[in-house]
Amino acid sequence: MRARLVRSGPRIGWRLPAWAPARTLVLFVGALAVLYALPLVVPMGDYAHDLIGLTFMYMAAALAWNWLGGYVGQISFGHAAMFGVGGFVAARIALSTGLPFWAGWLAGGLTAGLYGLLWGHPTLRLRGPYFSIATIGVGEATRLVATYWDPFTGGSSGLSLPLGQGPTKFALYWYGLYLLAAVVALSWWLRRSRIGLGLLAIKEDVEAAADVGVNATLYQDLVLVLSATVIGVCGGFYAWYQAFIDPQDLFSFDRSIGFVLMGVVGGIGTILGPALGAIVFVVVQELLLASYAQFYLGIYGLLLVLIILFEPLGLSGLLLRLARRLGWRPAAGRAPAIAAGPASSASTTEPGPGGAT
């Protein structure tokens, strides 16, 4: 076995996990450093600075939505429920306790994750449109409860956050960046590790996956909890960003649709796609919402129709086509990256399956 490993490449003293090749890691750290330093080096107005910070959060949210929608193929139209839960828990903690703001984010994220598990465990056995319809119900029910639960959410008058206790909008740029970085790393891991392979199998055919030993219930629950937790943290971020939150905004159906749109516009199931989708979403919203409030959902609708008709992989599909036209060839099969498992310590050597040895 050792001889084989040596043949397939130079060995170094410490190993990177197989799902994170060195080149990707360098690219990741490089991008992080550039974005970290950007506002310090390039002078930009407050408006642009804040907007980029908000975009980071939306990118993280879109990627987290995509774990469920893209990796396991369960399209959720109810993610605003967790966004709102995270936001209001964070706000409540800031208002009623002296805990630092990040503790509120954490608590909001965990509460949202648990809430996701609560409704997700029974509904995730539905698939396709049936699951999506169930999530619409969850989203709307949560919105109604939140709207009428005055003591907690402030009802229709909402909550104002205690400014001065939390991060300024200016500082949120970097918190957004950290959040995005963590979510990108998680996306990469979920996609490229052996877990990603199991998730793809579930997406393809739940029953066939179960017949080769994939515990579909466990993995779907796990992905939903992760996704819901991140969305909850995003809600907490948003609460501090806006400094005022009300249930009609945080829990709105538009917001749930927004997450779906980011995923679909960018390209479902990819890592780059939803991040691009989030950028487009924010830009379109900023450009159109102010002047044509009625118009912007129509634009999204049109975009959606065009994408589904012509490029199901969205923007990332377009980029891929462009890259191919420019002469880029993907490596023979995605197998090496996807198939590679996470680092695990060497242990017992077991005989393999029947005649295969």
């Binding site: 076995m1 050792r2 084989r4 490993l5 397939s8 190993r15 996990p17 197989a18 799902w19 052996r194 392979l197 199991g198 793809l200 199998a201 393809e204 055919d205 029953e207 066939a208 996956a209 179960a210 017949d211 080769v212 030993g213 994939v214 515990n215 579909a216 219930t217 023979a332 099969g333 995605r334 197998a335 090496p336 996807i338 198939a339 590679a340 498992g341 996470p342 680092a343 695990s344 310590s345 060497a346 242990s347 017992t348 050597t349 077991e350 393999g352 399956p353 029947g354 005649g355 295969a356 040895t357």
Partner: protein, 257 residues
């Protein structure tokens, strides 16, 4: 661990009803270590349903299936895989957007509960193992292709490879030979023998009589959910009850229950 010849998989009074339909009715069966059991019967006899119960995909209405004493029926399908029962599907169900190699890797990674890939470390060892299985099954040169590019025979082989990758003790093959031409089916039968030689006990459902009679140590016949015959292939082939089930009654009169 039990030796050759001892009972590995045992079904006792297995019943599976769909409403008023008795798809499987009071079937007792057993499979010994290192044995190939042929399961035959007319269409609708309940063969696939019996498989689904044995594989844990659907619970038994009554009765139990045990693997080495551990009950397997009525658990989630992935748990019986972990216990060591793998099945293939009559209509092949490859993961269409995964390569042939990845299809096998899913079985490799998820089919074993506690075992780690030999050599221990992550992706590469697992890939080499999956490649070995593909070489054994005869699909190594197709490893990086999508299942859709394979012929039917190829996809059936892939189905078997994926099940084998889970490291089963019992392999349930649902019509793997059906639909193949003479050469292909001959090769697949040879492969089944090799799998058995590797220490995996096999139950195979098959309509291709030549294949099943050739390769089976023992044959069990189902008709209308009930077991009507069991024994050596030659005995079963001459059993009047079996001939009647397949060809109908001599008088062409109403069938006796």
């Amino acid at each position: 661990m039990t030796g050759p010849g001892s009972r590995l998989l045992v079904g006792e009074g297995v019943c599976r009803y769909f409403g008023g339909l008795k798809a499987v009715d009071e079937v007792d069966f057993h499979l010994d270590e290192g044995e190939i059991l042929g399961l035959i019967g007319p269409n609708g006899a309940g063969k696939t349903t019996l498989f689904a119960v044995a594989a844990g995909s659907i619970p038994a209405t009554r009765g139990a299936v045990r693997l080495g004493g551990t009950p397997v029926s009525g658990r989630a399908a992935h748990r019986s895989v972990h216990l060591g029962i793998a099945r293939t599907h009559q209509i092949v169900r490859p993961f269409a957007h995964l390569t042939v190699l990845e299809n096998v890797l899913v079985g490799w990674y998820y089919g074993r509960r506690r075992r780690r890939p030999p050599g221990g470390h992550g992706g590469r060892a697992a890939r080499e193992w999956a490649m070995e299985i593909l070489e054994f099954i005869g699909l190594a040169d197709r490893a990086q292709q999508l299942p859709a590019t394979l012929t039917l025979a190829g996809r059936k082989r892939l189905e078997v490879a994926r099940a084998l990758a889970t490291g089963p003790r019992v392999l349930l093959l649902d019509e793997v030979v059906a639909g193949l031409n003479a050469v292909e089916s001959h090769r697949l039968v040879a492969l089944i023998r090799q799998i058995r030689a590797g220490g995996v006990a096999i139950i195979m459902i098959e309509h291709v009589m030549q294949a099943v009679m050739n390769v089976s140590d023992r044959v069990m016949v189902l008709d209308h959910g009930r077991k009507i015959a069991e024994g050596k292939p030659a005995e079963v082939a001459n059993d009047p009850a079996v001939i009647e089930a397949y060809l109908g009654h001599e008088d062409d009169g109403p069938r006796h229950a």
